[in-house]
């Protein structure tokens, strides 16, 4: 027998739907629900931006964005029904993004005190800066 048949049969969801095809078919009603949710959240995030949460402005905005994003990923991109390994790739990628940003952020925060506060000279007169020094 062909191993790849077993392979496909083993993947959790190929069995019950679309026996003739490959991949999972998302019911239209669900798509509609997700769309509604996304619109609602968009309105919500705009509304939230009108309220001052002080330090939490960003947190709130990002939290809503994350929820929206996960809706899109899970249902529109049907990650929910895909092989787990794909989720691993996706999450792994996000972890590396987080790693990259957080370490760069941490460093710049650490040496911020040594940054000289000034208007960028180049904006004022960038020719002076690019001018080769006297030879």
């Amino acid at each position: 027998m062909n191993p790849y048949q077993t392979a496909s049969m083993n993947s959790p969801h190929d069995v019950h739907d679309a026996p003739h095809g490959v991949g999972h078919i998302v019911p239209l009603s669900l798509l509609l629900k997700v769309f509604g949710g996304l619109v609602f959240l968009t309105v919500l995030t705009v509304a939230a931006s009108l309220v001052n949460f002080g330090e939490f402005n960003l947190v709130v905005a990002l939290a809503i964005a994350v929820v929206k994003a996960s809706l899109v990923v899970l249902f529109f991109m049907h990650l929910r029904w895909d092989k787990p390994f794909i989720s691993i790739i996706f999450i792994g990628c996000l972890i590396f993004v987080g790693l990259f940003i957080s370490l760069a952020l941490l460093d710049s925060g650490q040496y911020r005190s040594s940054v000289i506060k000034q208007e960028a000279p180049g904006i004022k007169d960038h020719h002076t800066l690019l001018k080769a020094p006297p030879q």
Binding site: S114, V115, I116, Q118, P133
Partner: protein, 396 residues
């Protein structure tokens, strides 16, 4: 143990390392030697074993039967853990040395270092500028690093320290030189690639004893001697140019010299010999008119620098308040008096009357045999006078 540590921290030049002449050299050389010996050992184990196996187990027949050894987990775990522990020890050794390198000494004397394509310039506590680094033996020093154009790095091999000069930031290194330098000094390199002249961007560090150091500082501090960072030649600085520099450092944030707009204080443009009316005078009878003689104006300006609140002008219908006094900066020593005079000369040069360059400072500030080619009456001297409005890059 003690002598082992001593042996590990060699102060003299070795096959590997140049001599160490700062408090940082000890830890660095120690770490270096520890790592050198341990890794060396591992190197000989690996290569030795490899060569031994090659000979001992060389192929006899194409069909040699070999034992079916696939793995040996305990062994593999051992040779995973042991090196791990070792390298983390190295990490700790290096970390200790690094903290010492990276923690600024509060009691350190501060020298400002500015890098540019392609030279370093060092500004000393007494305001002196030079492109060689002079240090006092056994005195902690902190170099404040900054660059005007691209990345540079100042690297002092004998001090075992280097740091990048980052434009837009002020980084620092601090250490304590522990040895007197030889006559020719030690090398200071730029290690961060910075363009055509990168390999030519070096200077020297001299570690001096107290007497020589003070002597050197006094010489460098002479405000009328300027060493061009590019050519390295010294030249005589006329009053007006010095005054301009001092203006940059002290006055520019309140006094405009381009237009007659009030920034905070009255503009200097055209200030010399313009009628003044005061909103406050310590001597109610005091007046100052364009017609008054130079001496009176000089006296007035001197007073305004040293005792600003003695007389307050009303300018463009605005009654101006006084500023805090600059007596500490522009009086109290011969040098400061000359600086004050330079400021006044600069203000003169901004006046509406034709300006004739002042007679150069006397021999205390101008050493004719040191800089014969820049004698004030010489070509260069007069040219320097003429050029006062073209300005050098202001060091700081």
């Amino acid at each position: 143990m003690n002598c082992l540590m001593h042996m590990l921290a060699a102060d003299n030049a070795t096959f590997w390392l140049p001599r160490g002449a700062s408090d940082l050299a000890g830890p660095v050389d120690q770490a270096w030697n520890i790592i050198l010996y341990v890794t060396g050992l591992f190197f000989f184990i690996v290569v030795g074993a490899m060569l031994f196996f090659i000979i001992r187990y060389r192929r006899r027949t194409p069909n040699d039967a070999t034992p079916e050894i696939t793995h040996n987990t305990p062994l593999e775990i051992v040779w995973t853990i042991v090196p791990l522990l070792l390298v983390e020890v190295f990490f700790y050794v290096g970390f200790k040395g690094f903290l010492r390198y990276d923690t600024p000494r509060s009691d350190a004397k501060i020298i400002d270092v500015q890098g540019r394509q392609w030279a370093f310039s060092f500004t000393y506590p007494n305001g002196a500028q030079d492109q060689d680094l002079y240090l006092l033996k056994d005195e902690p020093v902190r170099l404040n690093l900054n660059s005007t154009d691209v990345l540079h790095a100042i690297y002092l091999p004998v001090m075992r320290t280097q740091r990048n000069l980052v434009p837009g930031r002020e980084t620092q290194i601090s250490f304590t030189p522990t040895d007197l330098s030889p006559q020719e000094g030690w090398w200071v390199f730029c290690t961060q690639y910075c363009g055509n002249g990168h390999s030519r961007m070096f200077s020297h560090v001299y570690v001096l004893a107290k007497a020589d150091y003070d002597e050197k500082m006094k010489e460098l501090a002479n405000p009328f001697k300027k060493k061009d960072p590019i050519t390295g030649k010294s030249r005589w600085v006329p009053y007006v140019e010095l005054g301009h520099t001092l203006y940059q450092q002290n006055c520019s944030s309140c006094h405009s010299v381009t237009d007659d707009k009030i920034v905070v204080g009255p503009p200097w443009k055209g200030l010399w010999k313009r009628d003044h009316d005061f909103n406050y005078r310590d001597d109610p009878t005091y007046t100052l008119k364009a017609s008054d003689p130079d001496d009176k104006w000089n006296a007035y300006l001197t007073e305004s620098i040293l005792k600003p609140n003695a007389k307050l002008v009303t300018y463009q219908g605005k009654a101006l308040s006084g500023m805090s006094d600059f007596s500490s900066t522009f009086s109290g020593s011969e040098t400061n008096d000359e600086k004050r005079r330079a400021i006044i000369e600069y203000i003169k040069s901004l006046g509406n009357l034709p300006y004739t360059p002042a007679i150069p400072p006397d021999s205390t500030y101008y050493d004719a045999d040191k800089y014969p080619d820049h004698h004030p009456e010489s070509e260069a001297g007069l040219k320097a006078n003429a050029l006062t409005t073209q300005s050098q890059p202001a060091g700081r």
